[in-house]
Symmetry: C2
């Protein structure tokens, strides 16, 4: 399991569900657009504190950023 990609894909999916661009998410989260890009493409290995800040900015539980597709319930999708 590639945790970098898992977290990155979850951030990307939830961000898009909220209708945010990387630049808009950059403003609300305080992270740079480039850093968010690196995260979403799975090129970053964030710490647990960083993931928590991302989840907070997205308005979801930190657990949501660690879920695999199979661990998400149908109503999540």
């Amino acid at each position: 399991m590639d945790m970098r990609k898992l977290v990155g894909q979850n951030v990307k999916r939830i961000r898009q569900e909220k209708g945010l661009t990387q630049e808009q998410f950059s403003l609300v989260s305080g992270f740079s657009q480039q850093y968010i890009s690196g995260l979403e493409t799975g090129n970053r290995n964030p710490t647990v504190v960083t993931v928590y800040e991302l989840a907070k900015a997205l308005g979801v539980s930190h657990l949501d950023l660690f879920r695999t597709p199979s661990s998400r319930t149908r109503q999540d999708r």
Copy 2:
């Protein structure tokens, strides 16, 4: 929410449930006993990849290391 302490307490609890000492867990996980000590006391901020490796060594899902007490079901406890 202090993610360092949350992860640390979960590691400590599950390790103890398995009846492992920090030194034994050090051997199966490949992380040093000193590092595990720092983790469990909430003084470390591990990366998501590290948390995944810890979970694998403990034989649990990585999600189990991110759960708050209130997000754990009764049969977990």
